[in-house]
């Protein structure tokens, strides 16, 4: 299915799509508030972009430096060219330790490598411990957003899932109750685990250490409880010096959720005495992307999700419509590099409005790269397919959206959801929201059928 076809499926539930759209736009607004509060924000973005460009131009040396320092600190380092190799390495470490129970914290890389099914086939239990990832795991789905994995699920759906898997009592989707039940369940898993797998946000060449950022504390609960810690990272996670963390950590959480920093920014330099720590460095197509001059800047990405939250197409089509581990604007420039035919519709899932490039903390020229992919695809992929794709995407996602105006929409959203975001209330001037007119919405199904008839 192309992006537009999947988006049409997502758009069937109109109330949910509207909620999804508003919720993400609200996160985008929190990002703006946070960014505006930082003196020198634009300079921070420039620095970050410059550092990442330098990293890519010297990546081999930085990786060698990183490895040497990590080894000197007692960390074991492994290298994997492909997803398959990555999975074999992780599986071998677990086998050597006779590990049967694994807790995992959020790592888009292990998603990309499909590590869970690989390990499960070998009889190993893998529990995703980020609440959002846990929800999609028990729902047998994949994350639909890199920072908010279960953003496509309603609280009632979570309630039902928890009743089935955790034996909770029906609560009409009470978030406090459900989160607390998950906490109790996951705490047991942490303490029983034979090994913990985490991602890596930054790997520092100068020190051989890694930094892992979470709000929930799940990466730390796992890695400090289990006897073995395996951290998996793409080659592009390297930064040259520890002082550069000052730049990236100031940008990351503000861009992601509007928080000034994640709750936990954990710096791992040595294994706990008597325990093991492994780092797996993975290529899996990244050096190929490095070879493409027009697209190599996509490797700057620090996975903050800001480009998704701001994208009008993403907000109204949902992460699953991209059919890839990394959805949204950045996913639409990474995926075609992996499989051009399969993902040929993605670079058209954009209005080229440039909002993604404007918010990107590492200044990736996302919309320009989308345009460059389009030019390649119109040359290389069958024409009718391309044309249909363009028309459909504009139709499915945008026409519906023009019924709204962004300012009004988000203000209404704030009114409705204001009390839930208490902790951030200081940043947001609720009082500014005025009475807003009701927007009459055309029934999407009818509208969609009508348009389809007209477009043939």
């Amino acid at each position: 299915m192309s992006h537009s076809e999947k988006a049409a499926v997502f758009n069937k539930n109109e109330a949910k799509v509207n909620w999804h759209d508003k919720a993400l736009w609200y996160v985008r607004e929190k990002r703006d508030n946070a960014a505006h509060g930082v003196k020198g924000w634009e300079y921070l973005r420039e620095l970050a972009s410059g550092i990442k460009a330098n990293v890519l131009s010297n990546l081999d040396d930085y990786l060698i430096e990183f490895e040497a320092n990590a080894l000197a600190n007692g960390i074991k380092v492994h290298w994997a060219s492909s997803a398959e190799e990555h999975n074999q390495i992780v599986s071998k470490i677990l086998e050597d330790k006779k590990a049967k129970k694994v807790v995992k914290s959020k790592s888009m890389l292990t998603e990309e490598c499909h590590l869970n099914p690989y390990l499960e086939n070998k009889g190993i239990e893998v529990v995703d411990t980020d609440l959002g990832e846990y929800i999609v795991q028990i729902a047998k789905e994949s994350p639909s957003h890199i920072v908010l994995p279960a953003i496509h699920k309603t609280k009632e759906e979570v309630d039902e899932l928890f009743q089935e898997h955790l034996g909770t009592t029906p609560s009409n989707g009470n978030p406090e109750y459900l989160t607390n039940e998950a906490r109790k369940h996951l705490r047991k898993k942490f303490l029983q685990a034979d090994a913990a797998i985490t991602g890596v946000n930054f790997a520092i060449a100068e020190t051989g250490g890694i930094v892992v950022c979470t709000n929930e504390g799940n990466a730390d609960m796992g890695s400090h409880s289990a006897p073995v810690h395996i951290a998996c990272m793409g080659i592009e996670k390297i930064i040259p010096k520890e002082e550069h963390l000052g730049i990236f950590l100031r940008l990351l959480a503000r861009s992601a959720t509007g928080q000034p920093i994640t709750t936990y920014s954990s710096h791992f330099n040595k294994p706990t005495e008597g325990r093991e720590m492994h780092i797996v460095i993975v290529d899996n197509g990244r050096t190929e992307q490095l070879s493409r001059e027009d697209f190599r800047a996509s490797l700057h990405c620090i996975r903050c999700g800001a480009c998704m939250n701001t994208c009008p197409i993403y907000r109204r089509s949902g992460g699953h419509s991209y059919d890839a581990t990394i959805p949204g604007p950045i996913g639409s420039i990474l995926s075609p590099g992996k499989d051009l035919t399969k993902h040929s519709s993605l670079p058209f899932a954009s209005t080229l409005c440039g909002s993604c490039s404007n918010v990107c903390p590492v200044k990736i020229n996302i919309h320009e790269q989308l345009y460059s992919w389009r030019q390649i695809i119109t040359k290389d992929v069958k024409q009718p397919l391309v044309k249909k794709t363009i028309l459909k995407i504009a139709g499915v996602v945008l026409s519906n959206r023009t019924l709204y105006n962004i300012g009004g929409k988000s203000a209404r959203f704030m009114l409705k959801y204001a009390p839930r975001f208490m902790v951030y209330s200081k940043l947001n001037a609720w009082g500014k929201a005025r009475e807003l007119p009701e927007v009459k919405n055309q029934n999407f199904d009818d509208w969609y059928k009508e348009k389809r008839k007209n477009n043939g």
């Binding site: 919720a23 609200y26 003196k39 020198g40 921070l44 620095l47 330098n54 890519l56 131009s57 010297n58 081999d60 990786l63 492994h78 290298w79 060219s81 190799e85 980020d130 609440l131 929800i135 309603t154 609280k155 978030p175 406090e176 989160t179 607390n180 906490r183 303490l191 020190t207 250490g209 929930e216 504390g217 730390d220 609960m221 400090h224 409880s225 080659i235 040259p240 002082e243 963390l245 000052g246 730049i247 100031r250 959720t257 928080q259 000034p260 920093i261 709750t263 936990y264 710096h267 791992f268 330099n269 040595k270 706990t272 290529d283 050096t287 190929e288 490095l290 902790v423 951030y424 200081k426």
Partner: protein, 193 residues
């Protein structure tokens, strides 16, 4: 396969060397009241500030704040409140039911309400996460403006494990509703001395 293949491929595909620029810290300097900024940011991220007055005793104040806490891991540097002794040999699961832990913070960061704590301040790494509630004791003078200053402060440390901690654990993974108390500590009180 593996290491050599990856390094070779990078060598072939990377662009010509680009410069690494120095950070001009002037761009970030600001005249702000560090203490006030820090306090308001700790509250913004869901933490609680308690300023210890001259005539107040740390242990008494913590007991007042957490009257139900029985299993407490203290910190000899700051108070004698602890009821559970721990050491490097303590196993993580022995800490499963800890009600409260008190840890000394090294310094705070005004811009984001984060506090640097490191393995030197707690004998077992899982402690600040596994405890139900967490108290960090911090000297008011030990504050810096932003993370750039913070990294200067920790540049000479012995590197094993350390973290910036900003508020209690939290999640908004169910319909974007913020819930305090995810997998880590349910609350964070910062006691300023």
């Amino acid at each position: 396969m593996g290491r050599e293949a990856i390094l070779k491929s990078i060598k072939q595909n990377k662009p010509a060397l680009l410069p690494l620029h120095e950070i001009n810290l002037e761009a970030f300097s600001e005249e702000v009241n560090l203490l006030d900024t820090f306090k308001s940011n700790v509250e913004l991220v869901g933490g609680t500030i308690q300023e210890l007055k001259k005539n107040e005793n740390l242990t008494t104040e913590i007991n007042k704040r957490y009257p139900k806490a029985k299993k407490i891991v203290g910190n000899s540097q700051t108070s004698d409140i602890g009821t559970i002794p721990i050491s490097k040999e303590t196993e993580p699961h022995q800490l499963e039911n800890i009600d409260l832990a008190i840890i000394k913070g090294e310094f705070g960061v005004a811009e984001n309400g984060a506090i640097w704590i490191s393995e030197q301040d707690f004998p077992i790494r899982v402690l600040p996460f596994i405890t139900n509630d967490l108290v960090i004791v911090l000297e008011k003078e030990n504050l810096c403006l932003h993370l750039h200053d913070a990294y200067k402060k920790i540049a000479g440390r012995e590197r094993s494990f350390g973290l910036f901690i900003s508020g209690p654990s939290k999640t908004a993974d169910i319909e974007q509703c913020l819930v305090i108390g995810a997998q880590g500590a349910m609350s964070l009180t910062v006691v300023l001395i």
